[in-house]
Amino acid sequence: VGVFGNHQQKTLEVAYDVTGGKLGFGIGGCS
């Protein structure tokens, strides 16, 4: 099992749609 850590998540918009069963990534979401 790998772990995708927070250092690599920086500046990404990370969206958890738990009901929809999916994880979203948005590029440049912090600015």
């Binding site: 099992v1 790998g2 772990v3 995708f4 850590g5 927070n6 250092h7 690599q8 998540q9 920086k10 500046t11 990404l12 918009e13 990370v14 969206a15 958890y16 749609d17 738990v18 009901t19 929809g20 069963g21 999916k22 994880l23 979203g24 990534f25 948005g26 590029i27 440049g28 979401g29 912090c30 600015s31």
Partner: protein, 423 residues
């Protein structure tokens, strides 16, 4: 020239001093105003009011050591039930120790309100934990030092203890992020959550009003009111659990936000990010690419995803597809450094080193084994790294996510391998 131009497209030009800590906060997120948006800051950075003085702030070796402890516990929680039982049965330790629970230290904090009238509490935010807990007066056994006043249930008109014989108490199960429960007679429901480094919180399982924003208020929010607390939490008042199970904030606010939340972690410790509950919190100009969560019925707390490939400097790592196929991963806001199975990390390391031969290598830093002395460079070219997730979701890693370091003389590739392929 064309070839050279193409090559340049696979590299970041990186200002070396942008890795160094900055002492002034430069808020970068204003929030989108529509949904429940909380400001996220690094707990040791200048934007945090919990920021420790320089002498007491952890150094990078301590941060990486804590990070390894957290990953060890994640692997323990993911190991087979029989392995966990063997360890639990062989231990005579009291409630929290060896419970297999994970609270982790995390790096990012948010401030929420608890009780009536509300008291602001700054909590570590953690997608790897279910239970939210905070230290509580009168700290019957012990409390560690925190920056804000410790929550006093006697001062809240809406605080209630949960009794042992209630259905709510049964929600404290090992599936809820490793939380354990103790009940004596039919009195108050007791929770315990611990770390193998013997950090822990034990106390009353309780209910009170949670205020996320002035307009987003949740009555009867279930949380841990810690009476015996020990650990290194950087002055935070506790932890905000954002994992999948029924105790988490995500589940308890499902009628308000339909189990949808998003965050953006700041690129440096001197800038700010956000944690937003509910859809519509994301800018409409931003396109999200979705990958499905994988299922794991034995560990329902974690958010499992599937990494299908990695590119370094424009080239896919040459690894047998079967290696990625048999690899599952979790996404975790509390772990700092991304961990990969040994075969994948090894290929990543080889590819990265091949693209960095212009820079002198130096000694490793904790679990980071690919480090460079960049003290003679103002700018460097580092190969771009891109992760692929199931559904052909491409995720480029930002330059500060590729490197980790505290001085220009020791800047490291910010990825690590698991010690064992079966981890």
């Amino acid at each position: 020239g064309g070839e050279r131009k193409t090559m340049q497209g696979h590299f970041h030009t990186f200002q070396v001093n942008s890795l160094l800590p900055v002492s002034v906060c430069n808020p970068s997120i204003k929030g989108y105003g529509k949904k429940a948006t909380l400001k996220v800051v690094h707990k040791h950075g200048p934007c945090s009011h919990l920021s420790l003085d320089e002498a007491n702030a952890p150094n990078v070796t301590q941060i990486l050591s804590e990070d390894q402890s957290r990953v060890n516990i994640i692997h323990f929680r993911l190991s087979s039930n029989s392995a966990q039982n063997n360890i639990l049965n062989s231990s005579k330790a009291t409630l929290p120790v060896n419970s297999g629970a994970s609270i982790g230290t995390g790096n990012f904090i948010v401030t929420v309100g608890l009780g009536t009238p509300k008291k602001d509490l700054t909590l570590l935010f953690d997608t790897g934990s279910d239970l939210t807990w905070t230290q509580c007066q009168p700290c019957l056994v012990s409390c560690y030092r925190q920056q804000e006043p410790i929550f006093n249930p006697n001062e809240s008109t809406t605080y209630k203890n949960i009794s042992c014989n209630s259905a709510e108490c049964t929600q404290l199960t090992s599936h809820a992020g490793g939380v354990i429960k103790r009940c004596s007679n039919s009195s108050t429901c007791i929770y315990g959550i611990g770390y193998v480094d013997q950090s822990y919180s034990i106390g009353f399982f309780s209910k009170d009003t949670l205020t996320l924003t002035p307009t987003d208020v949740l009555p009867n929010f279930r949380f841990g009111c810690g009476q015996s607390n020990r650990g290194l939490f950087g002055g935070a008042a506790g932890l905000l659990g954002l994992a999948r199970n029924q105790l988490s904030v995500v589940s308890q606010t499902s009628s308000m936000y339909q189990k949808y939340f998003s965050y953006c972690l700041p690129s440096t410790s001197s800038s700010t990010g956000h944690l937003t509950f509910g859809k519509g919190g994301t800018s409409s100009a931003l396109k999200l690419n979705f990958t499905p969560f994988s299922r794991n019925s034995k560990n329902p707390s974690f958010y499992f995803v599937h990494i299908t490939g990695i590119k370094v400097g424009g080239r896919k790592l040459s690894i047998a597809k079967s290696v990625f196929k048999t690899t599952t991963s979790i996404i975790d806001s509390g772990t700092v450094i991304t961990r990969l199975p040994p075969a994948i990390y090894s290929a990543l390391r080889v590819a990265f080193r091949q693209k960095m031969t212009n820079y002198p290598m130096t000694k490793g830093l904790s679990m980071l084994d690919t480090c460079y002395d960049l003290s003679n460079n103002k700018t460097v070219l580092i190969p771009k790294i891109r992760f692929y997730f199931q559904g052909n979701v491409k995720v480029p890693i930002y330059p500060t996510g590729i490197l980790f370091g505290h001085s220009v003389s020791q800047v490291c590739l910010a990825f690590a391998g698991n010690s064992n392929a079966s981890d």
